[in-house]
Assembly symmetry: D3
Homo-oligomer: 308 residues x 6
């Protein structure tokens, strides 16, 4: 099997050479902004919006990428193009951007960019096996003990790679159930987000989700707003607490790789009647229609293949 | 000039080869704990305590380094030994540990360690030139607009490399003065810490510093407690606000590379009479005595040399 | 040039005699509510609404002004009338109300009104020169380090003269840029207000501004809601953070004297493309139309005159 | 009876002429720092410390008084001297300093001092009649509904005249009892301070009081620390809640005019056994000894005289 | 007069025997969820919705009642049926559910249900006399000094019998006025709720009430939303502060027994013009129409009868 | 086996008759204060202090018990005396006080005591079997997801029976491990308390525990302070976070029944070396000595007996 071609600051290198200096600010300071786009039928989904959000992250973090958004878009497409041949026709991939401030000099002012930014762009096989069963059974959503980093410390809308707080919170929820998917509350006790996903619930016939004041302004999240409109389901941003999750008819996560992941258990109690709910199913169907492929089917196919 | 020898997960490699995969959790998730030790007269200062704290960070982050503290100490000494010949006799170096959870698999559970931890240990020339003048003139301490990450999100005592919040806060203080050194407040408005240093002040004949409830439990900080005792100066942990900094007789930072950095300006106003104060000087002298070399002199010498 | 006629508790006095006792609660306790109205073409703008808000402030602060709102309106008009002759036809003025609880007795219960309230009403030449250039170039908006006084301590909607917190926060932003205009965050990190203005931004084709839960319920602010409706631009109250300001297409302040002041820089970064945006311009034009005069032109004319 | 001589920015004027412009920043912005000293037997008590704290307030508020502390001390003594003849031998007076930033120009940058500071220094007859009975009966301490302004908005240690929050909180406590003395809690529910006094309690044989993180660093408060030491009573700064007040053996306030005011009722319940407690009495006696006069007696005498 | 028949865990017992073990978790831990429904013309109002909310409370508290909602509904109707003969035709009653986790074993895990839940269902004469006059005169609403329990400690939407915080807050407001009705603020100073009622105000022609993020999701509250729609009055959920209450045109409470209780005084100041307002009156009329009886009349009749 | 004799408001009744009305405020409002004392060798431990704290709770909750503390002490001793014959010589018992405000009238002012308080006093066999093994193995301490009720809502030092928040938090920790013992954090993320115990840790040779600002002022807790002094181990009250628990050498809980319960696991990680630590053992030995019996032995004996 041929190796992936990975873009690092101007060069295409094979995967085994995809390395950066341990003195890069990515390593030294977690000083990296990021985007993860996925393909559907080998087409990148809303890549322009991902690039647009990437440039917001770059602006707020004051990292100069050395490229215009248009150039970045072109490079991204080139990276994807170069790697698509590695994918089977029935599979898809991530397209990931990681951009750091470049080399970090010990003890020097970390806000000064002393080298060009380090730009890492790569594809990654979209392995849906861990999530595929959740389309049918739903996952177990669990509240973390820790609280989300507040926006006045670091805004969650800066899609960044300083993720330790999220990783440790996820370790807490795995204490309850090794397959649990975490839900972080903010420091006031409102529902914030999952380590890499947005949280939605359905109650009184309405889809509800926290505002982006304490959650990533997810592109999958935005897609739910569009699809809800298409499907004629009311949708609303509002402050939510765990009571809302406990008493919801449905809960689901949204994220780039799996699009929608239903949760049928919350902190050990069943959600609604314990089955994946009609709203999640309808949105998944609408999403599949939007992208011209069977999202759930793709996951199940991978799972089936891996079990053979 | 020969290259540094850098330790990466079992191997000693020359600096130019000191690279890690862009798929390492250090890059993908800022999932790295760290220590920075310095030498005085080529001897590492309190290395055992740094290793002890490192193992606390590893425990809390649930990273298995694959080595006992004793082994880690030995490896650290070997790295130092291998690189000391590169140092002139009048100079010193950092000894830095970065340990990540290892390879990160896209979309998989980030709390599971699927490969050995990535252990990076390296020395770095201790360049004191940016700080050397501050021993005489004092620096300008400036409050950030953002607030420190609260302990219930990520405890500051976990010495980690998910530093984006700190970097962005430092960018804010540089708006006031490009040479300013930042002071982060916590979300309640109490003085917390600098991006990589602890903050002290002198008032009513007493040294005061925030508790470690919202600041790194610095080893330099602990050294100040020892030296204050030696010098017979009262010292106390307490909640402090900017009022305390504005009205202090002295302010100083403590950190591994420079030990003590006096601040003679705070948010544009002079601290005390505007000169480096007697307590900072006395503590610097005591520290120099403790380590058998002239700390301030070393910095000045570097500066003088670089200006020649 | 004849002196202004100033109203103090029933008397019209020339400016040089416009004094109050240093024992007045205005001086002793900052115990004063206030309004600032401006004229357009010598007509007071929404004076009735200013008087209405003034009486809300009087009620909440439990100050008895000794006059009905109708009487206060009449007095206000009389003061304006008496002073209009001092204004050139091309200029306008402020009409300011300051009402304190009256004489303060040292050590006595400060909530008891032991004398009639002190009513100060005066006009002031509306000097637009400091802001006039900002109509073309935009100003530099900067976040303060301190946080706004929370409503549970003192509600920002009580338009009052206990302004020290605002003045000191403004001193902080002047450290970044002597011409900067401050933006206060609330204690949770949400955008609150400027020391004397409301803050708006434009994003995704929508005008957004904080709710009045932590900002003055400005009459200029209310005018923006009216004008946005007239112009067919969506407008929404919501919690905003600095991320919203960093990534906004436009930012502007609203306040009585200048109506709308665009900001083209925020914390050292350009806002949008760095030029005054179309929404601010359209709203300024609509406001000019509403009041039958060229608001921007008036400012520029003053500036031009002063440079001659 | 001759009029008081009042010092205003260089001039001594009779009381009836002690006026300032309504355009002074004292009136326009509550932009005034202050001190209140009292005399015992016509001698000012700790005047040097009051002046020292005044200069801290001036520094933090960035007001330039135009005088050195030594000059200010001399002027203060002169004002006192000039007015002492007005006092009967058995009475004492306040010596009050109010210093504002000077003239405020409408719409201009309020942090710029465009005129000399306005310095107001005056004496005031120390009328103890409202408090005198409380020495015997104790007062009624009542919690306000509002919360104290947090230090990150405006530090309570800046002794200032932007007091509206305090006045309104006091109005709340007067709803419970027109003679009640308010106790403000901070936004976390800890005991902060009275509008013009510090709060102490006695429990388990120990005197306890909040830290100055959310209370004025009172000079009377400091005197209690000295006297407690003299009397051999343990004393401690700590976070206190209303539970501590409800279950205390004694509660008392300290402030410049009355020194110590016992509270024998708290929120409608008796404190301890309902009588003024032994610690308050002992401290009052020690204070009387310190200043060579009977503090309680002076108050009672005034009361008796006024009832004749 | 015959005794009430009370349902306790399967048995109907006369009132005098309506007792539970002192070892029940209701007594030992306040571990009880509850509902209070009222009748109008002897018909229970929205009983299904009360049962539905009861089952939400049971779910979130993890109490297994041992009955399906349908069974609970039937039992509830039977209890009502059995007790209606005790009521005069002009009167109505409460129908109260209290369900605890059952017997509590000292020292054992309190979350384990070691016995069947204790189910208490009873009717209670709906005595409107204390509120009847308020329909005409309005009540006095007063802010508590304490703050509401935040949702991250115990969500107010769990209708529960661990009410001590509410009782003590109510004791505080009774200090102001023995007939006062309390208003709790949340820990951020926003209006939350009354100990057993929701709070509404009318301002700018709009009905406003806090969200259920910090208030019971009252069924009377929901009825107001329906009636406002019927009456064509705009209604909105939003964060409110005491300023909103001070400056409102109307304030009213809603709760099961009295439906709507106008407040004409708030913290000692009149609300609006001091009379019960038109919106409250219109809503009361609409509610009366909805239930086919004169709600206000019933209260007045009781009062008149009791005064005879 | 004869039945326990239980005291209810003046009467001694057999256990089977120990019931209260379902209309009691204990049931209706969780309006009950409480104490739990234990015996050692049939002698009540610090009963006077428990009674003293009970009267503090009664005062703060404004419940009038109708008895003096001395009378309550005598009744308590009588209840104990009457029930001691039921205990084997090797066993001990709890002595529990529950005092409610008495009958609660639906809809009436809940703060008014309309009947005598309901006084429940009973003994309970001290069953140590669930904890006995923890003396040897240590328990698993786990952080709750919810946060403790803040003191400004309900002070934890009021030992009360409105415990739902604690029960639900404990249900959360049981999700991690059915035998886990919960640790509640306060709303700022500091360690508060267990549902019925205080939390201590040992670090750097020092015993540390949170202040009583957010934890019950436990009598067992106070005993630890005494024993630490006796044993010469430094002990300190301070703010602690989960980092302190993760990195502690020892963790233990203290509560009336088991005195000291070591924790050897915290959130799934071993505490120290995973064994019960020397400080806990030393304190347990000292406590045994203080009370003249082998505390640990008693628990083990019960366990052994039950396994036979």
């Amino acid at each position: 099997m041929p190796a992936r071609q990975i873009y690092i600051s101007g060069d295409m290198v094979p995967e085994s050479e995809a390395k950066i200096s341990i003195f890069d600010s990515a390593v030294m300071l977690g000083d990296t902004v990021t985007e993860s786009t996925r393909t559907f039928r080998h087409q990148p989904f809303k890549l322009e919006q991902h690039i647009e959000r990437l440039y917001k992250s770059l602006k707020v973090t004051r990292i100069d990428p050395g490229h215009s958004p248009e150039e970045m878009l072109q490079i991204s497409r080139d990276v994807l193009e170069a790697n698509l041949p590695l994918l089977g026709p029935e599979n898809d991939c991530w397209l990931v951007h990681n951009i750091s401030r470049g080399i970090s000099v010990a003890g020097a002012d970390p806000t000064k960019q002393v080298s060009p930014a380090t730009i890492m762009i790569f594809t990654s096989f979209l392995d849906l096996r861990d999530w595929a069963e959740f389309y049918s059974t739903g996952c177990h959503a669990v509240t973390a003990m820790s609280r989300a980093v507040p926006a006045q410390a670091l805004d969650p809308r800066i899609k960044n790679r300083s993720r330790m707080a999220y990783t440790l919170a996820e370790a807490e929820v795995k204490l309850v159930d090794p397959a649990a998917q975490g839900i972080l509350l903010d420091i006031h006790g409102n529902v914030a987000e999952n380590k890499g996903a947005n949280v939605f619930l359905v109650s009184e016939g309405e889809i509800r989700t926290p505002t982006t004041a304490n959650a990533l302004a997810g592109i999958s999240r935005a897609t739910i707003f569009e699809l809800a409109k298409t499907c004629g389901i009311p949708i609303r941003e509002m402050d939510l607490q765990t009571y809302d999750l406990y008493t919801a008819d449905e809960i689901f996560f949204t994220s780039t790789p799996y699009c929608i992941m239903p949760a049928t258990q919350f902190n050990g109690l069943v959600v609604g009647d314990g089955a994946v709910g009609p709203v999640a199913q309808r949105l998944l169907a609408a999403w599949s229609e939007l992208v011209g492929m069977d999202i759930v089917g793709q996951g199940r196919q991978q799972l089936a293949a891996s079990r053979r």
